[in-house]
C-alpha cells in the first residue's frame, strides 16, 4: 500500500515525486512509456520563461515567476543545466508596440525581474541577428534555458535515491476507490493500492481523470508544436531567446538557443485529436522557416539537423488546473500543464505538496532526505588535466563512442547503469548525447547497440531503438544450419 501514486513521469510528476520524498511517505510514480519524460517534457522550447505573458493573478503567472527563481536551486542541487540567456520580445511593426507596452506593464505586475524596454536599434547592437524591422523590444533578463528532459530525469533519480519507487511501461487503465483506498490497474494486469493519487498525466490527464471522476472538470485539447533544430556549429547566432509579440494563438515561432549549442526554431500551434501524435507536416515546417525569418536575419537553414514535434496539454480551464477532486478525497488533479509548465514545474510541485496535500495529510519530514543529485561527468568539457586523470582512473574515458558530441564509452556505461539508467539506443542518446550531433548516430548507433547488448547481457537483436519491440537489428543473416 502506497501513500501516494503519481501517474505520469514528465517533469511535473518527477518534481512532485522529489518534493514528496522530503517526507516520510511511500510513493510510487507510474509512467506508461519505456522511459520517463517522453511526451511534452521531451519536446518543447526548453525556456524558463520570465513570466511576462500570463494574466496576473493566475496560477500560471504566480507559479511561473516562482518556478523561474526555483531553477537556480535545482541547478545547484540537481546539476540541471541552465543557460542564463535572457530574452527579447520583439515588436516588428508599429501596431505591435502598444501590445509590447502592455506586456511590459504585465511583466511588472507579475513581478518579473529586470524587465525593460529597448529601441530596436539598441537591441540590435547586443543581438546583431535580430531582424532589421524590429522597432521596439522588451528585454527580459531573467529568462533562462534548460534541458527539460534532464530536469525530469535528475528529479526522479533524486527522488528514487530518497526512497521513491517508479515503474516504466506501467500504463494506468483503471482506478477505483473503495474504503478510502485507491486501486490502480495497469495495462499489464498488475494492481497497486494507494491512499492518494496525483494525476500528472499531461495531455492524457482528462483520460486518467475520467477513469474515476463522473464529472471531469476540464477537457484537454492537444495542441501540436513543430520545430526545426540547427546544428550546434551555429552556437552564438543568437545569444538570447527571441519571441515575437504574442497573438491570441500563443507565443508564436521563437528562436531559442539551447544548452548544448543548438538553436531551436518553432513551435507552430495546431490543435489535433491525438494527445500523442508527434507528426511533422511539410506546411508547418515551411511556416516555421517563414516566421522565424521575420525575427532574425539570415538564419542558416542549411544547418538544420533534425525536426520534431511536441504536444501541449491545452485545457478548457485556461489556467493550470491544480486542485483536489471535488468527488474523491485524495485524488489530486495536476492538469492543463501547458506552457509555462516547464518553468512552473518546481513551483507546481511545491504548491501541490506544501499547500494542497499538507491541508489534508500530516507529512513528517524525511530526516535522510538528500537534496543533491548525482553528477555525471562530461569528459569533453573537462580540462586537459582532468581528462588525463579521468582516463587514468577509468580507461574507458579514452574510448570515444560518439565523435560528433565527443561522448566516451565510460559515459555511455554510466548512463546505462545509473539508477534511472537508459536501456535503449534513444534512452542513451538522451542521457549521454551519443547520436545527437551532426550525423545523428550514423556512426555511433552501432557501437551503442553493442555496448547495450554487452552490458545488459542481451542478444543484439533485442536491443531496442526506443519503445518496446523496436529492435534496430531485425534479423540475423546466415543462420540456417
Amino acid at each position: 500500500m502506497y501513500d501516494f501514486i503519481i501517474i505520469g513521469g514528465g517533469v511535473t510528476g518527477a518534481l512532485i515525486a522529489r518534493t514528496l520524498s522530503r517526507y516520510q511517505v511511500k510513493v510510487c510514480l507510474l509512467e506508461k512509456e519505456s522511459d520517463i519524460g517522453n511526451h511534452a517534457t521531451l519536446a518543447n522550447s526548453a525556456i524558463i520563461h520570465a513570466g511576462f505573458d500570463p494574466e496576473p493573478g493566475t496560477l500560471k503567472a504566480r507559479l511561473g515567476v516562482r518556478g523561474n527563481a526555483m531553477y537556480e536551486t535545482l541547478h545547484k542541487e540537481l546539476h540541471v543545466p541552465l543557460l542564463r540567456t535572457g530574452a527579447y520580445v520583439v515588436a516588428r511593426h508599429e501596431d505591435d508596440v502598444a501590445i509590447l507596452n502592455a506586456l511590459y506593464e504585465r511583466a511588472l505586475k507579475n513581478g518579473v525581474e529586470g524587465a525593460k524596454l529597448l529601441s530596436g536599434e539598441q537591441a540590435r547592437k547586443l543581438e546583431p541577428a535580430l531582424h532589421r524591422n524590429s522597432v521596439k523590444v522588451l528585454d527580459l533578463p531573467s529568462t533562462k534555458v534548460t534541458y527539460p528532459w534532464e530536469v525530469a530525469l535528475s528529479a526522479l533519480e533524486n527522488a528514487v535515491s530518497n526512497g521513491v519507487e517508479y515503474r516504466l511501461e506501467a500504463e494506468v487503465v483503471g482506478i477505483v476507490r473503495t474504503d478510502k483506498v485507491y486501486a490502480v490497474t495497469l495495462a499489464n494486469g498488475h494492481a497497486l493500492k494507494s491512499k492518494a493519487i496525483i494525476n500528472a498525466a499531461g495531455a492524457f490527464a482528462d483520460k486518467v481523470a475520467g477513469m474515476i471522476e463522473t464529472h471531469v472538470p476540464y477537457k484537454i485539447t492537444p495542441r501540436r508544436g513543430e520545430y526545426l533544430v540547427l546544428d550546434k556549429s551555429v552556437r552564438g547566432f543568437v545569444e538570447r531567446v527571441l519571441y515575437p509579440v504574442p497573438t491570441e494563438k500563443g507565443k508564436g515561432v521563437l528562436v531559442v538557443p539551447q544548452v548544448h549549442g543548438n538553436i531551436l526554431l518553432g513551435p507552430t500551434s495546431e490543435f489535433q485529436d491525438s494527445p500523442s501524435a508527434v507528426t511533422n507536416h511539410q506546411a508547418d515546417l515551411s511556416m516555421i522557416r517563414q516566421a522565424a525569418s521575420t525575427l532574425a536575419e539570415a538564419i542558416p537553414f542549411d544547418k538544420v539537423i533534425r525536426t520534431f514535434a511536441g504536444v501541449r496539454a491545452t485545457s478548457s480551464a485556461k489556467d493550470f488546473y491544480i486542485r483536489q477532486s471535488l468527488e474523491h478525497r485524495g485524488f489530486y488533479h495536476v492538469a492543463g500543464i501547458d506552457s509555462p509548465g516547464l518553468t512552473a514545474a518546481p513551483a507546481i510541485a511545491e504548491y501541490v505538496v506544501e499547500t494542497l496535500i499538507k491541508q489534508d495529510y500530516d507529512l513528517e519530514s524525511n530526516p535522510d532526505f538528500n537534496p543533491y543529485g548525482m553528477q555525471y561527468p562530461h569528459f569533453h568539457e573537462a580540462s586537459l588535466a582532468k581528462k588525463r586523470q579521468m582516463i587514468a582512473e577509468n580507461p574507458a574515458f579514452g574510448n570515444i563512442v560518439c565523435k560528433c558530441e565527443r561522448v566516451t564509452e565510460a559515459e555511455v556505461l554510466m548512463h546505462i547503469h545509473r539508477p534511472c539508467g537508459g536501456h535503449s539506443v534513444k534512452a542513451i542518446k538522451k542521457r549521454a548525447r551519443a547520436g545527437s550531433g551532426l550525423c545523428q548516430g550514423g556512426y555511433c548507433e552501432g557501437t551503442v547497440v553493442k555496448l547495450l547488448a554487452r552490458e545488459l547481457k542481451q542478444p543484439l537483436e533485442t536491443i531496442d531503438y526506443y519503445r518496446k519491440d523496436t529492435p534496430i537489428l531485425m534479423a540475423e543473416t546466415k543462420v540456417k544450419r
Binding site: V304, G398, C439, D464, R467, T470, L473, M474
Partner: protein
C-alpha cells in the same frame, strides 16, 4: 617527438597520402578511430573498385587490402582505435588532440596535417522529411554496415529514398539477403548513381525506380508502417493525386554524403558552400597553410580510384610544404561557371605551380554531349569535348602553367551543352 605529417583517417585517402608523403621522406603518423584500416571500403563488399589504379575490378575490401599491404611494407607509424578530436595551431606547426582506449589522451605535435576523415551520410533531419518519427528510417550506409560487417538485416520490407550509389547497392544487397525491396524514389528526373548500378542493382531484380518522386509521408508509431511517395513538378513540389503507398518496415536514405570536417571545428578554415569541405588550391592546402585535405573529407567521390590519385597528389604536396619547397604567395580563383556544380581546386597557387594541375569537377545536369571550357577573362585557355555526362560522375581537365595569360585574372570553367 614531432611528426612531419599527421594523417587523420586510415581509409583509402589517408593510406594513399601517407604512402606518398613517406615515399618523399617524411616522418608520417596516421591515426584511425576504427579497429582496422580501410575505412568505408571494408563495408563496400561489392565490386567496382580499382579499375583506374589497378586496371582490374576489385571489391572494396580487396582494394583496401592491397593498400594496407603497401602501407605495412613501408613501416609507416599508425594508431588504431584513436579518435582525433581537435587541432591547435602553434608557432611551428600544430598540436593534435586524440584519444584512445589503449593510450588515453594524446597531444601530438606535427608540422603538417592531412585531413582524410571521409564523410558522413545526410540524415532524415537534414532533408526535413515530414511525417511520424518511428524506428526504421535510417541512412543506407548504416544499414550496409549492419548487414555486411555485423550480419544483420535492419528490415524485411524496404523502400529506398535516393538513387545514389549506396542506395542502389543496398537495394540489391537487401534483396539478395531475403528482404523485399519495394522500390527506389529519386526526386531528380535522373538517377544520381552510376548507370551500371541502375542496371545491376535495380533492373536485374525488377526493383522499380520512381524518378521525379519523393517521400511525402512516413507513418508508424513505434515501428515504421508505411511511406507515401508523390511525383514532383519541376520546382520539386509534390503533385497532388500522384500518391503511391508502400507498406514497409524500413526506409533507407541515400540522400547524399557530406565531408566530415568536424576536427576543423575550432579552426577558422574557409569552407566551400557546395562541396561542404575546405576550400583548397592545387596542393590540396586549405586556407591555413600546413593543413591539407583529401578524399571524401574534401569532397565526395564516387570512385575510390580518384580518391587514391587525389590523395597521392595531396601527400606529395604536403611533403613539399614540410620541406619548405612550397611557400604560398598568390592564389588565383578558379570559378565554377555555367552548368558546373563545383571545381576542385577552387584556387591556383600561381607562385608554386608545380606541374600539371588535374582539375576535378562535376556538371550540374545530364547531357549526351558537351564541351568543357576554361576561360581567363575572355580568352579560352583550355577546352575538351565529352560525352554522356552526369552530375554523379566526376570529370577531369588538365591545366598547366603555360596556358595562363597572367597571374591576376581569375579563371572560370563552363560546361557548354552541345545539342545533337
Amino acid at each position: 617527438m614531432k611528426t612531419d605529417l599527421l594523417v587523420i583517417g586510415g581509409g583509402a585517402a589517408g593510406i594513399a597520402a601517407a604512402l606518398e608523403a613517406s615515399a618523399q621522406g617524411l616522418e608520417v603518423l596516421l591515426l584511425e578511430r576504427d579497429t582496422q584500416l580501410g575505412g568505408i571500403l571494408n563495408q563496400c563488399i561489392h565490386n567496382g573498385f580499382g579499375l583506374h589504379v589497378f586496371k582490374e575490378e576489385l571489391t572494396g575490401p580487396e582494394y583496401a587490402e592491397r593498400f594496407i599491404h603497401m602501407f605495412h611494407d613501408k613501416d609507416i607509424a599508425y594508431k588504431l582505435n584513436t579518435t582525433v578530436l581537435d587541432i591547435r595551431k602553434e608557432d611551428a606547426g600544430f598540436v593534435v588532440s586524440a584519444s584512445s582506449l589503449q593510450e588515453g589522451w594524446l597531444e601530438l605535435e606535427c608540422r603538417a596535417i592531412m585531413l582524410a576523415s571521409g564523410c558522413y551520410e545526410r540524415t532524415r533531419g537534414q532533408i526535413q522529411l515530414p511525417g511520424d518519427r518511428p524506428k526504421g528510417v535510417m541512412p543506407a550506409g548504416s544499414a550496409q554496415r549492419y548487414l555486411n560487417m555485423d550480419g544483420y538485416l535492419v528490415g524485411k520490407d524496404v523502400f529506398i529514398l535516393g538513387s545514389g550509389d549506396i542506395g542502389l547497392i543496398m537495394a540489391r544487397r537487401m534483396k539478395l539477403e531475403g528482404a523485399n525491396v519495394h522500390g527506389v524514389a529519386e526526386i531528380m528526373p535522373h538517377s544520381n548513381g552510376l548507370t551500371r548500378n541502375i542496371v545491376q542493382c535495380l533492373h536485374d531484380y525488377d526493383i522499380p525506380l520512381f524518378l521525379s518522386h519523393t517521400v511525402t509521408d512516413i507513418r508508424g508509431k513505434d515501428r515504421l508502417e508505411g511511406v507515401t511517395i508523390q511525383q514532383v513538378d519541376e520546382n520539386w513540389k509534390p503533385i497532388s493525386g500522384t500518391d503511391k503507398h508502400f507498406s514497409v518496415d524500413t526506409l533507407l536514405l541515400s540522400v547524399g554524403l557530406v565531408p566530415d570536417t568536424m576536427v576543423f571545428e575550432s579552426l577558422d578554415i574557409a569552407m566551400h558552400p557546395v562541396t561542404k569541405g575546405a576550400v583548397v588550391d592545387q596542393h590540396y592546402q586549405t586556407s591555413i597553410p600546413g593543413i591539407f585535405a583529401c578524399g571524401n573529407a574534401l569532397h565526395v567521390h564516387d570512385l575510390v580510384d580518384y580518391v587514391t590519385e587525389e590523395s597521392r597528389r595531396a601527400g606529395r604536396a604536403a611533403a613539399r610544404y614540410v620541406k619548405g619547397l612550397s611557400v604560398r604567395q598568390k592564389r588565383l580563383a578558379l570559378n565554377s561557371g555555367a552548368n558546373i556544380h563545383y571545381t576542385l581546386p577552387q584556387y591556383i597557387d600561381t607562385a608554386d605551380f608545380n606541374g600539371v594541375i588535374s582539375c576535378m569537377f562535376r556538371v550540374t545536369k545530364k547531357a549526351e554531349q558537351g564541351e568543357f571550357v576554361i576561360r581567363q577573362g575572355d580568352r579560352i585557355i583550355q577546352r575538351k569535348k565529352a560525352r554522356f555526362l552526369a552530375p554523379a560522375e566526376m570529370e577531369q581537365l588538365d591545366l598547366d602553367q603555360t596556358m595562363l595569360s597572367d597571374h591576376e585574372t581569375p579563371l572560370t570553367l563552363d560546361f557548354e551543352v552541345i545539342r545533337p
